[in-house]
């Protein structure tokens, strides 16, 4: 038993007051959860402290919130650990830091920790046509499918719709219309399902939407936030790969071309050649001749302000170094090693899936026997 201080971002819509912070002291075993702490404060001190919760075991997805700035589930975060994390952030004047608790981000707040998931999360879920679209009559018995295909999409099915990934999504902060990690993970559940007959239509739809699969910037926030190991970003990357496999490469976002340009460049040069990346994205060189895509000029011009900002802020190299063709080579035989990684990846295309491999085998181990086991 220990005492913890919870500093909760509160909002009482009927009070006429702006949001404010309030501290609650709670006494519980460090192995209990942040949600247990909140419920103790609610039970003992202030019944108006509002938080959605039900199962207490990370299966219902009700208690999405930010704890010390990190999106997750209140019930799945041990209060002792949250306390330690808060202390690493540091208290003022040597005092212990309180555990900071806020409502989820990227959603309007209704009251205290309760957010409006309907207008954001669920609207986006419905955007991806979230039901199976088989063609023809159902078989008399079950659909016969590859066993691995069901295990593969079970990772997406493990999603409990808690919204933690949406809360943490940096792309959505920049573009509120981004379909987002949860809904795209849901989309993969159908795209990866061999019983669904509209795979290509789904992929075309998600690739052509300017707020679709190419709106993700690979920041990994959703993977960090997800309490169920769904790894939404991985599902988005699978959607991109599937789109390429299905020949959906004419998206107006130029996403597929951008991916190809990047892959080719790293294979050849090892590091990013920014000048070439733009050109290759919009006008990929085919046998020495430039082959501009539709809207290449517009796209290139549109990218200029970004490029200029990049140079100004030091995120891109200075102008003289951007002359196409002038690009430093990787030292020694490093480029050969990059090529070897490419070859290895080509040979072992199995995709990482928690239900196949288990968590601890995720550690990067260059152990091929393990990969073969799962094949």
């Amino acid at each position: 038993m220990a005492t913890y201080t919870l500093k909760v971002r509160r909002y009482q819509p009927e009070s006429g007051k702006s949001p404010y912070w309030e501290e609650f002291d709670v006494d519980l075993d460090p192995s209990l959860s942040v949600l247990d702490g909140l419920l103790q404060a609610k039970d003992r001190d202030d019944g108006s402290l509002s938080v959605r919760c039900s199962c207490r075991a990370a299966i219902c997805g009700s208690c999405g919130m930010k704890i010390n700035g990190q999106s997750g589930l209140g019930c799945k975060t041990q209060i002792g650990e949250a306390h330690a994390a808060a202390n690493r952030r540091g208290g003022t004047n040597g005092a212990a830091a309180p555990i900071l608790i806020e409502p989820m981000g990227n959603m309007p707040v209704i009251k205290d920790l309760i957010t409006d998931m309907e207008s954001t999360h669920w609207t986006k879920i419905r955007r991806v046509t979230p039901w199976l679209l088989p063609h023809g009559e159902a078989p008399e018995r079950e659909y016969v499918v590859e066993p691995e295909s069901m295990i593969d999409i079970t990772q997406s099915m493990a999603c409990i719709q808690c919204g933690a990934c949406v809360s943490s999504c940096l792309s959505m902060e920049a573009d509120p219309d981004f379909i987002g990690p949860a809904a795209l993970a849901k989309a993969y559940r159908f795209v990866g399902d061999p019983r669904d007959a509209e795979t290509k239509e789904r992929l075309h739809d998600l690739a052509h939407d300017p707020h679709g699969i190419y709106d993700c910037t690979h920041c990994f926030s959703c993977i960090d936030a997800c309490p169920k190991g769904v790894a939404p970003m991985d599902q988005i990357m699978r959607l991109r790969r599937k789109a390429a496999e299905e020949g959906v490469d004419d998206d107006p976002n130029n996403g597929a071309n951008h991916v190809n340009a990047f892959v080719k460049m790293i294979e050849k040069k090892g590091t990013n050649d920014e000048a070439l990346l733009l050109q290759e994205t919009y006008a990929p060189g085919v046998k020495g001749k430039l082959k501009p895509t539709k809207g290449a000029i517009k796209g290139l011009l549109g990218s200029l302000p970004v490029a200029i900002r990049g140079i100004k802020t030091g995120k891109m190299r200075s102008l003289p170094k951007l002359i196409p063709g002038v690009h430093p080579k990787l030292p020694g035989g490093a480029q050969d090693e990059v090529k070897a990684i490419y070859e290895h990846t080509e040979e072992h295309r199995e995709e990482f899936n928690l239900y196949i491999r288990g968590e601890e085998d995720v550690e990067p181990e260059p152990d091929e026997t393990k990969m073969e086991e799962t094949a």
Binding site: S48, S50, S54, C60, E118, W131, M150, G229, Y355, G358
Partner: protein, 562 residues
């Protein structure tokens, strides 16, 4: 005033299945739930769903196992229906998109489960309930035109017309606190069980017996309320569930001496005996000093191959890691029996009809009865789906048959007054709701659990009746309209106390040991006197007891060994 032909209260598996079945008949359907549908507690069903679908298996074998599991208190006509219709329901779910586990041929694969004579449990890793419920919710989104969803609306009372038929429900929109009288020709209660009467419990905080209490208050009969399942493998203290699938995959139960003690209690089925048997065995080990100091025994999953654990029991890996700090692939985890399931509930026939015309019940809220004295693992999802569907279909055909009768506004006004009265109680005028709930939960877990006796149950009943008095003056802090969870908690407390009182009265009445009801003062099953259901109906003084016959079709009661 929203009006629908069929109104479903609760949006777990039973409720969603009922709504979809009713909508198929072309009637107007509304589904009301106090939480967003995917938050419903059907999520927590981990292990799977039973059906005799494998070649060589038969519905008769499934039915016999279920009846034996029920300790012959299940109604055999209802069990027959459930087991006969199970295979078709599994295929229906598969066609809708449930990602059931496949065998090497790509066909539906099964795992073993407790009390079953064949491996007939279909599953999605150990998230079967969640996977099925999310797929049904996909269908609700697809059929949004025919099923109106009222997400985060709380129900406070049923409305009856002058003929005593159910014709609506009083609801509160949680988002803004407004109260509405919903009209309906048929109302289906699918509100889940009452696990929150006990503490700890595997059940979610929302499982407060709302449907059972609302039906009881409206005058419907309840049945088998003494039959409360304690699940053999729950985490000590926190009550979290470790799926029976773990034992289905081969995990062992060990006492503190490292003995596989089930050898002494169920030499044939061992860990896969029915739940009441395993829970009693564990509790006996613990009571006789062969448990661990924290009042537990151990579940050893390390005997299951690691790859299989990750594929099929991943949720349990996470529960062990996050909530007990144990890596179940490396060391045994401490567990004990914990409150889990309400076998009893609102008495219904095989189409979900209660004895109030127009009122239906399905799933854990209902008592058809298919589970009798003890439910088999992986039969609960099946119960929700089969009887959810049948209730939905029958409720829709009733709606087509009858004219709408208007509920009186009086019930709405009475409920509004009640809510205002709760909000008006001054701070300090009584006890806190949370205190009363805690005392209820710990009392019931101490006195009305795996082993019971007259003195203990009587004591619990007296406590419950005192708490009912105290609940009348329990105050709430939140006086607002928007998301006033405090107020809803006070209403739920009333539901819990009605459920608890009924369970105590029935447990006191049944002077024998059968299924989950084990009376140390009456340790034998007594078919001559007690092969019957205990029915309860509200009168002025509380629950009034009557009895009804157990339907026996082809399986005469036998001695029950595993």
């Amino acid at each position: 005033m929203p009006a629908h032909d069929v109104l479903v209260i609760g949006a777990g598996l039973a409720g969603q299945r009922a709504a979809l079945a009713a909508a198929e008949q072309g009637v107007s359907v509304g589904i009301v739930s106090k939480v967003h549908p995917v938050r419903s507690h059907s999520n927590a069903a981990q292990g799977g769903i039973n059906a005799a679908l494998n070649p060589g298996d038969s519905w008769e074998s499934h039915a016999f196992d279920t009846i034996k599991g029920s300790d012959y208190l299940g109604d055999q006509d209802a069990v027959e229906i459930m087991c006969r219709e199970a295979p078709e329901e599994i295929l229906h779910l598969e066609h809708l998109g449930v990602t059931f586990h496949r065998n090497e041929e790509g066909k539906l694969g099964t795992r073993a489960f407790g009390g079953a004579s064949a491996a007939r449990t279909y599953y999605v890793a150990d998230i079967t309930g969640q996977a099925i419920m999310h797929v049904l919710y996909e269908q609700l989104m697809k059929h949004a035109d025919s099923v109106a969803r009222y997400e985060e609306w709380f129900c406070t009372a049923l409305a009856l017309d002058e003929q005593g038929e159910c014709c609506g429900v009083v609801t509160r929109n949680i988002a803004d606190g407004s109260m509405e009288l919903f009209e309906a020709k048929s109302v289906i209660l699918a509100c889940g069980g009452n696990g929150q009467v006990w503490k700890p419990t595997t059940n979610a905080l929302i499982c407060t017996g709302d449907g059972i209490a609302m039906a009881y208050r409206a005058g419907a009969k309840l049945m088998d309320m003494e039959m409360i399942q304690y699940h053999p493998t729950t985490l000590a203290g926190k009550g979290f569930l470790i799926t029976e699938g773990a034992r289905g995959e081969g995990a062992h139960l060990l006492n503190a001496k490292g003995e596989r003690f089930m050898e002494r209690y169920a030499p044939n089925k061992m860990e896969l005996a029915s739940r009441d048997v395993v829970s009693r065995a564990e509790q006996t080990e613990i009571n006789e000093g062969r448990g661990f100091p924290d009042g537990t025994v151990a579940l050893d999953i390390t005997v299951v191959p690691k790859k299989r654990v990750h594929e099929a029991l991943r949720e349990i890996v996470l529960v062990g890691r996050d909530f007990a700090g144990v890596d179940i692939t490396r060391e045994p985890i401490h567990i004990k029996p914990g409150n889990h399931y309400t076998m009893g509930g609102v008495k219904t026939d095989v189409d979900g009809r209660t004895d109030i015309p127009g009122l239906y019940a399905a799933g854990e809220t209902a008592c058809v009865s298919v589970h009798g004295g003890n439910r088999l693992g992986a039969n609960s999802l099946l119960d929700t789906l089969i009887f959810g569907r049948r209730s939905g279909a029958d409720a829709a055909s009733r709606a087509k048959r009858i004219d709408r009768s208007r509920p009186s506004k009086a019930v709405l006004e009475a409920e509004q007054a009640q809510v205002e009265a709760i909000a008006a109680r001054e701070k300090g005028s009584g006890r806190r709701v949370s205190e009363i709930k805690l005392e209820l939960g710990t009392t019931m877990d101490a006195k009305v659990a795996v082993f019971r006796d007259e003195a203990g149950i009587q004591e619990a009943l007296e406590t419950v009746r005192r708490l009912k008095q105290e609940a009348e003056s329990a105050y709430v802090d939140d006086k607002g309209a928007v998301f006033n969870q405090d107020l809803l908690g006070a209403i739920e407390l009333g539901y819990l106390l009605d459920n608890a009182e009924c369970t105590c009265v029935a447990a006191l009445e049944r002077k024998e040991s059968r299924g989950a009801q084990y009376r140390t003062d009456f340790p034998e099953r007594n078919d001559e006197e007690w092969l019957k259901h205990i029915d309860l109906q509200l009168n002025d003084a509380g629950p009034e007891i009557s009895y009804s016959e157990v339907t026996i079709t082809q399986w005469e009661p036998q001695e029950r060994t595993y």
